[in-house]
Amino acid sequence: MDGIQKAIRIRDIREISASVIGMLLYMYLLFEIPFPMTRFASALSIVWFAFVILKLRKSKTRHITCKLDLSVRGQLADQEAAMRYQAALLDSVAYWYAIPPFIINCIFVLGLGNPAEYNWTNSLAESILPLSMNLKIGTITGLAFFYALIIWLNKRAASRDIKPILEKINIIQDEWEADNESNG
């Protein structure tokens, strides 16, 4: 359990840090890039990063508690609730962590236009951003694979790391409840 707790804490720190950096990057792009659709996507990205931070901070309150002075039954119920929450969080990653940013990134990439039309010059941005159609298709395909990998990794983590612990907790809970029916 402690290993899982540590892994969850590290994941949250990593994701929240990445979200803060992402927010700063998209804030810069929002003010720097002149293309309206891309600016709209940058604003959406900032909102999405804020949502990720809030969601992970909320999940922090649902971590396994260290209230070891609860009754054994209470402690098991506590652990079960926390593990169920984590399993649901990982299983639903497509809906809150992968598909929304994929759509936003698609809007961002497709919204990139010709810098000359906007009298925009930024050599760094021009060398990084996929401005041609071929680069746009390549970037969107790459993003699709990237987010598919994220979904797969999270689903694997849910079934490989969280569900066995949940099953073990449920077995012990069933053992506690056994004989209760015969008790009437």
Binding site: G3, L70, R73, G74, I165, I172, N180
Partner: protein
């Protein structure tokens, strides 16, 4: 205030170390040793000591933490089978009491039979063997006294059958 807390913690540890070690000995399964579990329990009692509100007796509170830590450690071990780090500063060596060979044999059988029980039954029999009332066991486990009575009847029978077969 801190000093008072430390003295109290030491008193609690002094009064309960034998029973904590006894419970740890029953839960410890190779490669986890009783000493490792004992250290973890002591550490968790120290960590939670501030949170003791006096809603139950200190003994019941210590039992709750001990059983919860033992169960959690077992879950962790089942999953990762990982090694533990041992701190020499938290070390307890129980003094061997004078036990005759017959009693020693009986204890060996009892321990062997307890190891065949599941986690729940182990927790209950450990508390029962420590002479706790059903009321205290109920407070520690969260089960009703009636439920515990039914379970204990079944566990006692299981243990008696097991020990009898070993003594033949």
């Amino acid at each position: 205030m801190l000093q008072k807390l430390e003295i109290n913690f030491e008193q609690v540890l002094e009064e309960n170390k034998h029973k904590i070690f006894r419970i740890c000995s029953i839960y410890a399964v190779n490669p986890l040793e009783p000493q490792d579990l004992f250290q973890e329990v002591v550490f968790q009692i120290w960590k939670s000591f501030d949170g003791f509100k006096g809603q139950s007796t200190i003994n019941t509170w210590v039992y709750k933490i001990t059983i919860n830590v033992c169960l959690r450690s077992k879950m962790k071990l089942d999953k990762t089978n990982q090694k533990t780090d041992r701190f020499e500063s938290i070390h307890f060596t129980p003094v061997d009491e004078e036990i005759d060979t017959f009693e020693h044999e009986n204890f060996k059988y009892l321990k062997a039979c307890i190891s065949t029980l599941n986690e729940t039954d182990t927790s209950l029999i450990v508390l029962y063997l420590d002479d706790l009332s059903y009321k205290d066991i109920s407070s520690i486990t969260g089960l009703s006294e009636n439920h515990i009575a039914v379970k204990m009847k079944r566990i006692r029978k299981k243990l008696l059958d097991c020990i009898a077969s070993k003594m033949k």
